[in-house]
Amino acid sequence: MLIEETLKRIQSQKGVQGIIIVNSEGIPIKTTLDNSSTVQYAGLIHQLVMKARSTVRDIDPQNDLTFLRVRSKKNEIMIAPDKDYFLIVIQNPSD
């Protein structure tokens, strides 16, 4: 319902290649990519987010991670973390 709309809206943006929703244990809940890529992204990005979050909090315990962008040569992986879930979007930036 609401979630479907949100995800559809995101998917329709220019350059978006895929969306994955992962829970705090690394299990992909919803995805628009194929299974093997999803599992790979979910596992790897989960570790990365944990590390990034602990880094931010180590430096300043009052601080917390709000958004994480990983820009690579071919695309950009954007991760929006939350307490229990995170939303991963892979986008090909404008060019």
Binding site: L2, I3, G15, I27, G43, F67, V89, S94
Partner: protein, 603 residues
């Protein structure tokens, strides 16, 4: 000691107002210093005492122990699922997912995350933050940084008994691999359990060699085929040549027969340029240079005996220790010998006698390294005894440039493949020297102590940045040279060409002058011989020689004594005349004492 001041006030006067009045100072106590106490202290003057209000800190260096790391793959298995869900079962996973999707907190958090995400996506689409703004700007030339070299890796001999790295060869395709030949060249120092293997190392992995080469006897030198990066050829301690194909394993594909090979260890083997790409030649201290076709190693295709009298006599041949071949000059090659002579030869000569073209008397000891400058093939570098010398092919009498006599023996050298004026040498005290003759000729531009033991071999990779040197304890060190020494500078070739020409001309002039002097000597001695026709032929008797020597000696001594007497007379005459009127004559002696009286006079 207690100093007490007693103050009294009547009780009835308490509470009364204070009436202040002036009073002169009253000395209550005077405590003079007690000198006996001073004896308990040591006086220290001056005293430097730094004062700073800050925390105490200390500096501490830590070096981690070397640890071996290994790369291996990991097999990922899906996990994280709660215990009751089996990840393989599609139904169970779907059911789990549906359950989560119905959760309220899930819906809330995803909505919130969704809006954040959308904002960022739109941001990305709006502006490309990594757009290249200044594409046409030319690269600013950086100031040349100070020459330096950094050790990247050390490849150590994995065996217990360490052997010397006597030969090194870079993989021709990009230089990602380094082949090293290990052997023990010290006389009778080889032990029975010394391994015979040589290794090919991948420069990224110093922990374990990528491949082992197992010859029948330890390899002294080896060379990668520049045309085919899978094949290598190596020369063994027992004189045989072995040919490997890395695709076919560690054992040599073919080994030359013992009867037809060298009789002494093969010190150098190089691939030749030929249509078939299978020709090599090898040199050894038994005085022979043999040509081989690797398809048929049972016997050499050609043989050359380094006999300078051109008779092919093995007994009088010079032992060869280094070889040189430049693919731009395929008909010529040079051999460096144990006797310090460099022999230049022509491959295409018809008879063996004509093969040897000329010789250069180069060093006092064996010529350990010999290489033509890749940019100026007419000039070559030789290394032996304690110097490195640069020669021009045309001047046979002496080298055109040479280094000072170094503190320790030079064992190997090579030119940089990118910069014509740079060459590298290694010494027995473990030092790697980088010489840039356009910058400094007297001493190396960069001198690095690579290790404590002697360095025996050296090879530069084709890109000019990586240098590998091998030590006595079996460690091959890989160094990276700073960009200043490995990038071609402006005008370098023309400057170096001018320098070589100038030095060659100087040597030619010197040679011509020497020849003139010799001619003059000869003509003079011929003339004097004609005058002494009356004299008896043959040598004078010993008595006559002695009397002649005596006469010469006495005449020299007498002329010297006479000269000294004259000088003393001069001094005495000078002393009798005072320097200025009224001066103390006794002081004149000190004023006028000639300062050169003490130095000995020689004619």
């Amino acid at each position: 000691m207690e100093i007490v001041h007693v103050y009294t006030k009547l009780r009835s006067e308490f509470g009364r107002q204070c009436l202040l009045s002036d009073r002169p100072a009253e000395l209550l106590v005077d405590v003079p210093p007690d000198p006996s106490l001073a004896l308990q202290f040591i006086q220290k003057t001056p005293r430097d005492q730094a004062l700073q209000a800050c925390r105490d800190m200390s500096e501490h260096q830590v070096n981690t122990e070397r640890f071996e790391s290994d790369s291996c793959g990991i097999n990922h298995v899906e996990g994280g699922w709660p215990k009751d869900v089996n990840p393989q079962e599609v139904e169970q996973t779907i059911r789990f997912r549906k359950k989560v999707e119905k959760d309220e907190s899930y819906i809330n958090s995803i909505l919130q995350l969704g809006s954040v995400m959308e904002h960022c996506i739109r941001q990305n689409n709006a502006v490309d933050i990594y757009q290249v703004y200044f594409e046409e700007e030319e690269e600013v030339e950086e100031a040349p940084d100070a020459p330096s070299a950094k050790t990247i890796n050390v490849f150590r001999d994995p065996n217990e008994v360490k052997r010397t790295v006597t030969g090194l060869s870079w993989h021709p395709d990009g230089g990602r691999k380094l082949a090293a030949a290990y052997s023990c060249l010290e006389f009778q120092k080889t032990s029975k359990d010394m391994s015979l293997d040589s290794y090919i190392w991948d420069i990224e992995n110093p922990n374990r060699p990528e491949m082992t080469l197992k010859p029948a006897s330890s390899l002294i030198c080896l060379d990668y085929n520049p045309k085919d990066p899978h094949t290598l050829v190596g020369g063994c301690y027992n004189g045989q040549i072995a040919y490997w194909d890395t695709r076919r394993g560690s054992q040599p594909v073919e080994v030359s027969s013992v009867e037809q090979s060298h009789r002494d260890p093969v010190y150098k083997i190089i691939w030749l340029q030929s249509k078939t790409g299978t020709d090599t030649f090898s040199a050894s201290t038994d005085g022979q240079v043999l040509w081989w076709d690797v398809r048929r190693l049972s016997e050499p295709t050609e043989r050359l005996v380094l006999d300078l009298s051109r008779e092919g006599n093995l007994d009088r041949a010079l032992g060869a220790i280094s070889l040189e071949f430049e693919s731009t000059m395929p008909t010529k090659f040079m051999v460096g010998t144990e006797q310090g002579v460099v022999v230049s030869c022509n491959r295409k000569a018809k008879t063996p006698a004509e093969k040897i073209v000329c010789t250069y008397d180069s060093h006092h000891g064996p010529v350990y390294a010999l290489q033509r400058n890749p940019f100026f093939p007419k000039n070559f570098l030789t290394v032996g005894d304690w110097t490195a010398r640069i020669w021009s092919e045309d001047i046979k009498e002496s080298s055109i440039m040479w280094t000072r006599y170094q503190m320790s023996y030079l064992t190997d050298a090579c030119w940089s493949p990118v910069r014509p004026s740079v060459f590298f040498t290694v010494k027995m005290d473990g030092v790697l020297d980088v010489w840039d003759i356009l910058f400094k000729q007297n001493e190396p531009t960069l001198s690095l102590k690579v290790c404590d033991e002697a360095l025996y071999s050296l090879r530069v990779q084709d890109n000019g940045r990586l240098v590998a040197c091998g030590s006595q304890q079996g460690g091959a060190t890989l160094l990276e040279i700073s960009s200043g020494l490995s990038t071609l500078q402006k005008n370098e070739k023309s400057l170096l060409a001018a320098m070589f020409e100038r030095e060659t001309k100087r040597e030619k002039i010197l040679e011509a002058r020497q020849r003139e002097l010799r001619l003059k000597e000869r003509s003079r001695s011929e003339q004097s011989r004609e005058e002494d026709v009356g004299r008896e032929d043959g040598e004078d008797s010993p008595d006559q020689l002695i009397s002649r020597a005596q006469k010469d000696f006495y005449s020299v001594v007498e002329t010297e004594l006479r000269r000294r007497r004259d000088r003393e007379d001069q001094e005495n005459r000078r002393r009798r005349v005072p320097a200025f009127p009224g001066a103390n004559p006794s002081l004149d002696r000190f004023l006028l004492e000639p300062s050169g009286a003490s130095c000995s006079q020689c004619s």
